[in-house]
């Protein structure tokens, strides 16, 4: 199976001296076709997307009006940026967006609490034929990285982010209500993005923009669909030529279907979250692990910049679970049996990290 590993051809990019500094900037990673990746803050989501959010791309999250899961995605995204000292711009329709910063999760640093341990436990009962042991060597080398400069941290959703991450940081918080027709907001975004321009000579620290609930009903521009569309389009253009990633969540249930479709087409990476009913016996029978699930996440589009080859994912719908109520994990849906486009059939409730690892072992 192709899994989520990018295709590596026989050509390799000749990296210039300047790009050697990239390996020293935490939070950036080289991707295929000359792109760079930024972590989303969720380990499993990075793996699903093939490395993370592509620098210069626009990520859109379709909300479900009945569940706050998009907040989980935004929180992890913002926390990851703060941990890596990346400038952040946050906008929300709330009266006090700064208050949201207090709900950001803290990274888990201690090794014995790492979620990776669950993978190690699964392997103990497995006897691997000798010639496959060489594939496991690759995985072990990942653990030896220093935790401080990790590309993607595991976040503990119950612990708030420590104070020292906020100090000395450039964090802009904007109220969406203040901007009646989005022009002032657009200017703020442009000035933020001009601080992280893209050029080959020196790579500055990448920036992050998080816009929560664009088009929420309390904003004045909520019924001005053309204004919102042109804002998103110009933001996308500006982001393409800068070293930043923007994550926008919007509620498609409040928009007309054509507007919602247009927004979906504008996105480079498109993800949607969905609520699940509580104490539903039918679902409990259909899905294993229903008790721990809080929602469903679907990946509709993955950003492909500088290439024409699309990413075809093995599975597009994942269940969101809070492991020990702390960290967010995404797992393939497990139901027996499947048709080709959804879920993994091999009945083990391993996470997607597990499935991409055993890709080498598929017979």
């Amino acid at each position: 199976m192709a899994g989520n590993k990018p295709r590596v051809g026989s050509f390799s990019r000749n990296f210039t001296a300047a790009s050697n500094t990239i390996s020293q900037i935490p939070g950036l990673k080289h991707g295929p076709n000359g792109t760079m990746f930024l972590s989303s803050g969720i380990l499993d989501l990075d793996k699903i997307l093939g490395g993370g959010f592509t620098l210069g791309s626009l990520v859109m999250v379709m909300e479900d009006p009945e569940a706050p899961h998009h907040m989980l995605l935004i929180r992890n995204f913002m926390s990851q940026g703060l941990v890596h000292n990346q400038p952040l711009l946050y906008a929300s329709p709330a009266k006090d967006p700064r208050g949201f910063l207090g709900t950001l999760p803290s990274p888990m640093f201690s090794k014995d609490e790492k979620s990776r341990d669950r993978d190690a436990e699964q392997e103990k009962g497995l006897r691997i034929a000798w010639q496959y042991k060489k594939y496991f060597e690759e995985q072990n080398s990942e653990f030896q990285r220093d935790e401080k400069s990790e590309y993607c941290n595991d976040f503990d959703l119950r612990k708030p982010l420590e104070r020292h991450f906020y100090s000395g940081q450039q964090i802009d918080c904007i109220r969406l209500e203040d901007s009646a027709d989005l022009t002032t907001f657009h200017d703020r975004c442009s000035s933020f993005l001009s601080q992280t321009p893209r050029n080959d000579r020196n790579i500055t620290c990448p920036g992050r923009i998080a816009i929560q609930s664009l088009g929420a009903p309390q904003c004045d521009f909520a019924d001005k669909e053309c204004d919102m569309l042109s804002f998103v389009r110009s933001l996308k253009n500006t982001i393409r030529s800068s070293n930043a990633v923007a994550v926008i969540t919007f509620p498609p249930s409040l928009f007309s279907p054509s507007f919602s479709k247009r927004l979906q087409h504008l996105a480079d990476t498109l993800v949607s979250v969905k609520a699940i009913p509580d104490e539903d016996k039918e679902l409990a029978k259909l899905l294993t692990g229903y008790q721990d699930m809080v929602g469903l996440l679907s990946v509709h589009k993955v950003a492909r910049i500088n290439t024409q080859v699309p990413t075809i994912l093995e599975a597009t719908t994942f269940s969101m679970k809070l492991q020990k109520r702390r960290s967010l994990i995404l797992e393939c849906l497990n139901q027996a049996p499947i048709d080709g486009s959804s879920g993994s059939s091999y009945a083990s409730s391993g996470s997607c990290t597990g499935s991409s690892k055993t890709g080498a072992l598929d017979f």
Binding site: K95, P217, Q218, A275, D278, V294, L333
Partner: protein, 376 residues
């Protein structure tokens, strides 16, 4: 189930989170929204009077029914009105919502306020300006709670009335500001769903955390029914209905509940629903190609098949068929036809195994000798 709503409102908001917000929806087919609203209001007020709830008082924004109506409502429920100043404040937006009456009075056209207006209520004259309305609500609420930390509940008699005067974005702004206000414990409002656009209803559902909608018990099939046939349905629908509740829980799951209710002299009575819940699961999970489940009929048929073994395990003597009909056989004969097909003849109670070999599909080639391919 309806008590769960009242309990959720009673428990109120957790520290640092938005207050729970309930939308009570009704429609022309099942017009019991105001009765449900009264029920929730009286339940909450009894919790408040008994000091069991997080909120210390209610601010009632009366847009469609005047304060006198509510005084009578509380009187009929037995709540003590004399002390009601301590736990309820009514913002009267019904008598003079746009300030026309006071303008007429100033210019001398009408003599005085109509008799019977409650002097306890606070008159509000500018329903179009929702910012001022928000301030008025908060001010009244602060009067109810003496210290700065107490919380109060807000009940809005009809958001449909508000939407007549103001745009959906300003109403949504008002409601979300109330939800995020640190002193508001819970919030509930009434909405008539037929008179608004779907966008407006979707926006209000987006803001609320609990939705209770009143539906008719039975819906007559549209079209060809004569009016006389519709009468029993109408009667039934006017006596009661079903209430469907959607609870947005903190962990992100949605709790769905249904109950039936009937209208009685004293109020509303809730009874659990008799029919089975609908299946929602199928639409969420991707479709599965293989059907591994057996339907009831299939299960019964499977149980009825007599397996072609000698010993059937049910205590009867073993009867081995030896090709001859024995005189004891009264039942239908068991036929063994050709070697390719194994088939048992069905009785009325017996199942059947029908087996078709794949090789039956091949037509034997009469002119080809299959041994011609051998090359030894």
């Amino acid at each position: 189930m309806a008590e769960r709503i009242c309990r959720a409102l009673r428990d109120g908001a957790l520290e640092g989170e938005h207050a729970p917000a309930l939308t009570i929806k009704d429609s022309n087919e099942s017009p019991f929204g105001s009765l449900l609203f009264n029920h929730v209001l009286s339940q909450l007020s009894s919790f408040i009077v008994a000091q069991k709830s997080q909120s210390q008082g209610i601010v009632l924004v009366a847009l469609s029914r005047g304060p006198l109506y509510y005084e009578q409502l509380f009187k009929s429920k037995g709540n003590n009105i004399a002390s009601s100043n301590k736990w309820i404040k009514v913002l009267d937006c019904c008598t003079d919502p746009l300030g026309w009456r006071s303008k007429l009075m100033e210019s001398g056209r009408i003599a005085s306020l109509t008799p019977g207006t409650s002097t306890r209520a606070n008159l509000y004259k500018n329903v179009k300006d929702l910012n001022k309305l928000l301030l008025a609500i908060v001010e009244l609420g602060k009067e109810l709670v003496e210290d700065g930390k107490g919380r109060f509940a807000v009940a809005i008699d009809s958001v449909s009335e508000m939407l007549r005067h103001a745009s959906i974005s300003s109403v949504a702004g008002l409601l979300s500001n109330l939800r995020s206000h640190s002193q508001v414990s819970c919030l509930f409002w009434l909405l008539h769903s037929d008179i608004h656009e779907t966008k407006a209803i979707a926006a209000l559902e987006y803001i609320s955390s609990i939705q209770a909608s009143s539906d008719p018990i039975t819906r007559p099939i549209n079209g060809q029914r004569a009016n006389s046939e519709k009468l029993p349905f109408l009667e039934q629908n006017l006596r009661g209905g079903k209430i469907h509740i959607r609870f947005k829980r903190r962990n992100g799951r949605v709790r769905l509940m249904s109950e039936e209710f009937c209208i009685e002299q004293s109020g509303i009575k809730f009874t659990p629903i008799s029919s089975e819940a609908e299946m929602i699961a199928q639409s969420l999970v991707p479709k599965v190609q293989f059907n591994l489940e057996l339907s009831e009929k299939e299960r019964n048929d499977r149980a009825k098949v007599v397996l072609p073994f000698e010993h059937q395990g049910n205590g009867k003597t073993i009867q081995i068929y030896d090709g001859r009909k024995s005189p004891n056989e009264d039942r239908a004969e068991i036929q063994y036809t050709s070697a390719e097909k194994v088939q048992t003849v069905t009785d009325s109670g017996r199942g059947e195994i029908i087996y078709f070999r794949d090789s039956d599909d091949e037509m034997p080639d009469s002119d080809e000798d299959p041994d011609d391919d051998l090359d030894i």
